[in-house]
């Protein structure tokens, strides 16, 4: 039936759409196979025959451009691109980035002093995190890798909550809410303290608990998105991962499942140039992570991850597509200014000049500050006061967390199963 209709039409369509300068067969007997290959094998994408033996070289495919709105100094490339954020929203974005950055400094130092066992900073990736988080709805579910503390800060996960998790003390909320219900009768002050620092989670903030194995959260995110689609609840899932994690088999599985099962999901890759010591040149040979997107049938965009406004716009647009069950992958190009973690000395494998260059010439926080200053909403004095206030708040939460006792030891046996 389809075949009868197609006949000549498919050839006409092919000539219009085939990009690689194919020479089309004009033989009538080819129409059956061309139709089958297009419909059945290539998911309704039209394909042609060619008699030219031409092995496609990756360089022949152009790289995906990096979407940006402002330049390195934070000035609009084109004034009409100003999203016209209102003042309160803009200041909230800025304060979140500053809070993340200042908290990183204090917790990093506290690990150096042996007060917490481990920490990972977000230096250089503040705009990538806050910009994308701000474009989501609060009920959208987030699966993170581990360098996404900014998303939690944006969602209102408090400083004490962060500190308590890092200390693994009895007030650690990354599991407390549910536990309280179970043990009210026993009147015991139970909580968690089971995972390493920075492995946050919060049901209230729709933020799935982080786990250390890389990329495992990616197929989880697809499964949750599928459940949301079935529940028809207008929620999307956002899953964050790094350029290194994208090499895991689970990333491949997740991309493929999301596209074949049409899930409301946004994949956000933080491409910061390194996976611990491994540079991206040893991680992949193609056009980054975004270059993989079309191969899976994913909607794809590459974004300047240090441009908060670009991250916001891209995520907002991606959410519109995702909510229609068209999965999207965003590759945010950024740079890991800090060490991989407190267990890593990055000077062993990269130059101090390189780091300094990104710190001085291309800092996401300074870049967005330009926006505020240009609007007349911010000045040096206000910036100084904000820094002082933010540091005070962090140190207050920090010293409180340090004083709280650890959970009681029998906690170790709880929650292995629902009922023991």
């Amino acid at each position: 039936m389809l075949l009868r209709h197609s006949g000549n039409n498919i050839f006409k369509a092919l000539i219009r759409t085939c990009p690689y300068n194919c020479k089309y067969s004009t033989r009538e007997e080819d129409s059956f196979r061309l139709h089958q290959f297009s419909e059945k094998y290539l998911n309704k994408r039209l394909v042609g025959f060619t008699e030219r033996l031409n092995i496609l070289k990756p360089e022949q495919v152009s790289t995906l451009p990096i979407y940006r709105v402002t330049d390195s100094l934070g000035k609009f490339i084109d004034k009409s691109l100003d999203p016209n954020f209102d003042k309160d929203f803009s200041l909230q974005l800025y304060k979140s980035m500053v809070t993340l950055n200042q908290m990183d400094r204090i917790l990093y130092d506290s690990q150096r002093q042996g007060r917490i066992s481990f920490y990972m900073t977000s230096y250089g990736e503040e705009a990538c995190q806050i910009g994308s988080a701000a474009a989501l709805q609060g009920e959208d579910l987030v699966y993170a890798q581990y360098r996404e503390t900014g998303v939690l800060i944006w969602r209102g996960f408090s400083l004490p909550d962060i500190m308590n998790q890092c200390y693994g003390n009895a007030e650690d909320k990354c599991g407390k809410a549910a536990v309280e219900i179970i043990f009210t009768k026993l009147n015991k002050n139970r909580s968690k303290g089971k995972q390493m620092p920075i492995h946050f989670g919060s049901k209230k903030h729709n933020f799935m608990t982080i786990s250390s194995p890389l990329s495992t959260q990616m197929p989880h995110a697809v499964g949750s998105a599928y459940a949301f689609k079935r529940a028809n609840n207008s929620r999307v899932v956002m899953v964050y991962f790094g350029d290194g994690a994208a090499s895991e088999g689970d990333a491949h599985a997740a991309f493929n499942f999301s596209a074949t099962l049409n899930c409301p999901i946004i994949f956000l890759c933080r491409n910061n140039g390194y996976a611990i010591s491994t540079p991206t040149s040893e991680q992949y040979a193609g056009d980054g992570i975004a270059g993989k997107g079309p191969g899976y049938g994913l909607n794809t965009i590459r974004v300047d991850g240090n441009d908060l406004i670009a991250m916001y716009n891209a995520t907002q647009e991606a959410r519109k597509m995702a909510i229609e069950n068209n999965p999207v992958i965003i590759e945010a190009m950024t740079y890991r200014i800090g060490h991989h973690s407190t267990s890593d000395d990055s000077s062993v494998y990269r130059s101090a000049e390189e780091v300094k260059y990104w710190l001085d010439k291309e800092h996401p926080i300074n870049r967005f500050k330009t926006y505020l200053v240009d609007k007349g909403w911010w000045n040096v004095e206000e910036d100084k006061n904000l820094l002082k206030k933010v540091r005070e708040n962090i140190l207050y939460a920090f010293s409180n967390a340090e004083k709280i006792l650890k959970p009681q030891p029998l906690e170790v046996f709880e929650d292995v199963y629902k009922v023991i």
């Binding site: 579910l141 990354c174 599991g175 407390k176 809410a177 549910a178 536990v179 179970i182 139970r190 909580s191 968690k192 089971k194 995972q195 492995h199 989670g201 919060s202 049901k203 799935m208 608990t209 786990s211 194995p213 495992t216 990616m218 197929p219 989880h220 995110a221 697809v222 499964g223 949750s224 998105a225 599928y226 459940a227 949301f228 689609k229 079935r230 529940a231 088999g249 689970d250 491949h252 599985a253 997740a254 493929n256 499942f257 074949t260 099962l261 906690e411 709880e414 929650d415 292995v416 199963y417 629902k418 009922v419």
Partner: protein, 322 residues
């Protein structure tokens, strides 16, 4: 119903009674390569019974994600031999999901079904019994039925249990085992062993297909040698029913554990160690383990590899004469 139909019936009931339940895996849409999901897609729709791409880690991970937001996920891994690509998802993720968040999040509504055990000619990768790998993982439940009635009740229990479960289906029994299976909705309790035959001289413990081998050996032992065997189907490998086994061994004084999987670090080792600890004063002979050899599962040598009723009988006689 045969075992295959019993599994189908259990999934039918699960889909009917729980609108969030989904069945998915490789080739499940047309009914599955073993026909366990026949008719379910027609009945419940393409969004509830569907094929996934060919990726076991993806299937397990996807199922965890469904369950993590409260949907019931019934995932199929085509053969237990191919569950290893999903090992990380099962062991590091599914099993620890609840613990690491102190019950704030869990994937308890996940059940992974997979075909299991020898089938006559399965060779290395269509015959394995990997339960012991998972028995070393706190947070999981591992369940194996011996026949259709058990399969339906245990599978419904797994699907409705609030912990991630792996349900191994002995594929050689899919069509060979037929029983009068109740058509209604019923469950069989997990972590509870089943005394299939009472006896007084020796306790025989097994699960899945091997239970039938034990029953055959017990019959010969009784008829030809006058040995009364108590035969127990463990049913749940993790967390297992220590009390039922220990109570039996306290009575009989002797224990034989048998499984198809290789001997070294097989689940029989765990049972033997725990029972030795619990029943030291009651044991009158060393605990016998009759298992597969410590080799990969061979193709043409399958009859020599399997712990047959003759090997079991020999071990019974040796244990009794000790």
């Amino acid at each position: 119903m045969n075992l295959c139909q019993a599994v189908n019936n259990a999934m039918d009931i699960a889909l009917k009674t729980d609108p969030t339940a989904c069945v998915f895996g490789e080739d499940v849409a047309f009914g599955g390569v073993f026909r366990c999901s026949v008719g379910l897609q027609e009945k419940y729709g393409k969004d509830r019974v569907f094929n996934t791409p060919l990726s076991e880690q993806g299937i397990a991970g996807f199922g965890i994600g469904l369950a993590a937001v409260g949907a019931t996920a019934i995932a199929e891994i085509q053969f237990a031999d191919y569950i290893f690509p999903a090992f990380d998802q099962i062991v590091n993720e599914a099993a620890k999901f609840r613990y690491r968040s102190a019950s704030m999040f869990d994937c308890g509504k996940l059940t992974i079904r997979t075909t299991w055990g020898a089938v006559g000619h399965g060779g290395l990768y269509h015959s394995q019994s990997p339960e012991a790998y998972f028995a070393h993982t706190p947070g999981l439940k591992v369940v194996i039925p011996r026949g259709p009635i058990q399969a339906k009740g245990l599978l419904l229990s797994c699907i409705r249990d609030e912990n991630p479960c792996i349900f191994f289906e002995p594929k050689v029994l899919y069509r060979t085992a037929t029983e009068e299976v109740p058509v209604g909705d019923y469950m069989v309790e997990l972590s509870k062993a089943d005394i299939v035959k009472y006896g007084k001289n020796i306790t025989l413990v097994g699960w899945g297909t091997q239970l039938h081998v034990l029953l055959d050996a017990a019959e010969i032992a009784e008829k030809d040698h006058g040995i009364s065997c108590e035969v127990i189907d463990l049913r749940t490998i993790l967390p297992w029913d220590v009390d039922t086994i220990a109570t039996s061994v306290i009575k009989t004084g002797r224990l034989l554990v048998s499984h198809e999987a290789p001997l070294s670090s097989g689940f029989a080792s765990e049972i033997a160690a725990v029972i030795q600890e619990r029943c030291f004063l009651n044991l009158e002979a060393p605990i016998a383990r009759v298992c597969g050899w410590d080799t990969p599962f061979p193709h043409i040598f399958e009859p020599f590899y399997l712990p047959s009723k003759w090997r079991v009988l020999e071990a019974i006689l040796k244990t009794i004469k000790y």
